[in-house]
């Protein structure tokens, strides 16, 4: 160790100059800091984000889902439960009587979206803030899923 470095003083002063430079430049221009002030500012994700699910509708407003059980079969977390029933309409054979997703179990892998043969389930709502103060709120049913919209607001 050289004598000058052994007493550390010059190196310490250099380091202190660096920290003070950061402090001053951040103080006079807070926009420099990369921090996202989360609840006030939201991050922008691309359309590929797998957010909360939604069920698509036909033109008459009934669900597109034909209750084929493919999504609940492929689901690795086993979080989708569908009860299928008959439908009276001529072009529809089956329709879900209930379509429940347990969001606490869901791992947001998107396999259900891939598996769906008629594009009835999507994860394009862009909703990534999934928080509630009770478990029941995470067990969402068919009405909730049908009214989940892409703009992130549940109508």
């Amino acid at each position: 160790m050289r004598g000058g470095e052994a007493f550390y003083l010059v190196e310490i002063l250099k380091g202190m100059a660096i920290t003070m430079r950061h402090l001053l430049s951040n103080m006079f221009d807070p926009q420099r800091m990369p921090t996202l002030e989360y609840p006030d500012q939201k991050p922008e994700y691309g359309p590929w984000l797998r957010g909360r699910h939604r069920l698509m509708k036909r033109e008459d407003g009934s669900p597109r889902c034909v209750a084929c059980q493919m999504c609940s079969t492929i689901c690795p977390a086993d979080c989708i439960s569908i009860v299928s029933g008959e439908d009276d309409r001529a072009d529809v054979e089956k329709a879900p009587e209930s379509f429940d997703i347990n969001l606490l179990r869901c791992v947001y892998c998107g396999f259900c979206v891939e598996a769906c043969p008629c594009d009835a389930i999507r994860m394009d709502t862009g909703i990534f803030e999934l928080a509630a103060d009770n478990r029941e709120a995470f067990k969402v049913d068919i009405d909730f899923l049908l009214n989940n919209t892409t703009d992130g607001v549940r109508r």
Partner: protein, 427 residues
């Protein structure tokens, strides 16, 4: 009777000074650290949903939270020492302040008030004694907690204290040799003189090497980074106060900052002229009180206007970004700054401060000196924070190497050179 009241008033002032600086220090630590690391830092706690004061509300919220938390006493602790230790740390930190002068003698009629709680004739030695007592709290806390990590921390604190106490003592001894007194008041007085007609005879000018050794030893004494081995998070969880919770933890936490403030005040007093305003002695301050007061009030008006403009610009720039009452804060602050500027301007116009009376001039000098003392203390307190967020922690063997093999020889050299110079000058 009257004198007793004055002593109580001085004690009260000192306590208020430390306890008022405590939350400011905690705020400066958190916010300063954040800005040095390109983070935003605390800004969520607010008063009435409006005033966030850049995070200054957080220390109050923290202390409130800690006070109302459950006080857990672990099994197997030595109850007496466990309870005594945090108070010991705090009381020692606060009582060190007793011998630090914060202003020149103030004459009220025929009553001379020494602006120092206790003018001991062993002033500096009292400080050395008290700072080494402060490790007792740490050691007792670590030992009484019945926890191996806190026990290791207290062992480290002890050996660190022993190693660096010697260097600190030698540095202070050299200063005592150079100034020829151990009374704090006289030390500060002698620092008001000028060397070669232009250089303030501050301790740092007379004893530059002594100052460096002193400040390094002081960092070790108050357990601050780079010497905060007693609370090394990475290997000792959190050091001597692992087992403490609630108010007792808050006491340790605040005592750390109280120790820093006291250390800063000691550094300012011994090496940076204490309450002395450089180049302006008490007599100069008193005889020129009129123009000085006018000038400082005028500067105050300008600064307040500047702050008001900055706050208003901030309000205009970020309006609509948060979407709630917090946005009003810079506007209200701008109005407060404007009002303060108006008040100062009114005082300038109606109070005619350039026609100051002699009695008021004495008070003005005292207030200026207290301000100088507080400013110097604040700077050194900030230095503790600044260094903490710049340097990594020393390894234990590096600490011992620095203490015994580098600083001790340097301190001894400094001591002998000072002694020789004093001998030559005096004979």
């Amino acid at each position: 009777m009257n004198e007793l009241l004055w002593v109580l008033a001085k004690i009260g002032f000192m306590l208020l000074l430390i306890l008022g600086l405590l939350p400011t220090m905690i705020w400066a630590e958190r916010k300063g650290a954040a800005y040095m690391q390109d983070r935003i830092g605390p800004n969520r706690a607010s008063i009435g949903g409006i005033f966030r004061l850049a995070g200054l509300v957080h220390p109050i919220a923290d202390v409130l939270k800690l006070v109302f938390k459950e006080d857990i006493i672990p099994a197997g602790v030595n109850r007496f020492f466990y309870h005594v230790a945090p108070w010991l740390v705090m009381v020692v930190a606060l009582s060190t302040f007793a011998v630090i002068p914060f202003g020149d003698k103030l004459y009220l009629g025929d009553l001379a008030i020494n602006l120092q709680v206790a003018d001991l004739n062993v002033g500096v030695l009292y400080i050395l004694a008290m700072t080494s007592l402060s490790v007792y709290g740490v050691v007792l806390a670590g030992w009484a907690s019945n926890n191996k990590y806190s026990f290791l921390a207290s062992i480290r604190a002890t050996s660190q204290m022993i190693s660096y106490e010697i260097n600190m003592g030698l540095a202070v001894l050299s200063l005592i040799l150079a100034t020829g007194t151990v009374r704090m008041g006289e030390m500060v007085h002698s620092q008001g003189e000028l060397l070669f007609g232009f250089l303030p005879a501050w301790g740092v000018v007379i004893q530059p090497l002594g100052f460096i050794i002193f400040i390094v030893a002081l960092f070790a004494e108050v357990n601050r980074n780079p010497f905060d081995l007693p609370e090394g998070e990475s290997e000792l969880v959190s050091g001597y106060h692992i087992e403490y919770s609630s108010l007792k933890f808050a006491l340790f936490f605040m005592a750390e900052y109280a120790n820093m403030i006291v250390g800063a005040a000691i550094t300012a007093t011994l090496f940076f002229g204490g309450w002395q305003v450089p180049w302006l002695t008490t007599d100069v301050l008193r005889s020129n009180a009129g123009p000085l007061l006018t000038g400082s009030v005028a500067i105050g008006v300008c600064l307040n206007l500047l702050f008001a403009a900055a706050a208003w610009r901030h309000y205009e720039r970020f309006r609509g970004r948060l979407g709630d009452r917090r946005e009003l804060e810079p506007m209200i602050l701008a109005i407060i700054f404007l009002l303060m500027a108006a008040g100062s301007a009114l005082f300038l116009a109606l109070g005619k401060p350039w026609l100051i009376t002699e009695a008021a001039a004495a008070h003005y000098a005292t207030i200026t000196q207290i301000g100088a003392f507080v400013l110097k203390t604040l700077f050194f307190a900030w230095l503790f924070i600044w260094v903490r967020w710049t340097l990594p922690r020393f390894r234990y063997d590096q600490l011992m190497h620095l203490g015994w093999k580098i600083m001790l020889p340097l301190a001894l050299l400094n001591f002998f050179v000072t002694a020789a110079v004093v001998l030559v000058v005096n004979s």
